[in-house]
Symmetry: C2
Subunit: 151 residues, 2 copies
Amino acid sequence: MEEVPGAVGTSASFALRLGQTLFSSASLLFMSLGVDFYGYTAFCFLVTVMGLVIPWSFTLALVDVYSVLVKCPLRLPGTMTIIVVGDWVLSFLTLAAACSTASVVDLLLHSNGRCPVKFCSRYQVSATMAFLSWFLSLASSLFNLWLLPSL
Amino acid sequence: MEEVPGAVGTSASFALRLGQTLFSSASLLFMSLGVDFYGYTAFCFLVTVMGLVIPWSFTLALVDVYSVLVKCPLRLPGTMTIIVVGDWVLSFLTLAAACSTASVVDLLLHSNGRCPVKFCSRYQVSATMAFLSWFLSLASSLFNLWLLPSL
């Protein structure tokens, strides 16, 4: 069985999961601190998706730490399939939420007076963080998918 | 070498490509017929992405027809890799465009007077068609990715 850097149970995977957790948390915080987010469907969607991504990535980060410490990577086909499917679904949801947020922020910026500058820049940062989280999530998904047929 | 239904060169693949071409064309037409689309970044993005998806899917539909007629499916690893990568990139772009359009339409619908009902329902149909196109595009990508390691 080959070793794929970035697949579950390696230190590279831990770094990816940590990045996902951090970026998702940052995205959620920047969005929630603006008090108006529940007025827009896209922003509520982003908050919901980030609320799913944070516990998922954090749990898998803990699994990675445990696997690295006991030097025994997780290689059960059933569990790996669940992880790969979950990763892909969350990756698509994150992309969808990030794009929705970005397009709504763009529209708000171009409609004069509908978005105070302080809030709009927060929303922009939140969308950027969501995109970064998606990027890392996609990397994790690809590495795990690559490993799957060799199990 | 196993035969994967839905991979390039099969009649199932032709059906998927035909569906993608039809839904993308419908999405593009419904969006372009509304004269206001270039005023919104998300709608311009959708038009651009659909302008890429239509020739891509149409070309691959022709390849499928040819392969089915001469009963010799395309199985060159290099070409297949290009098709898989192109499929995935276009699939992500389609999802991004569909989500952006849907969220902007939702925002326009909830801001009174900014969107005539005639245009808004067109935009909604366009976003729905883009989502359907994404769904078929994802199916094609998965089938082709599944075939790739066996080449």
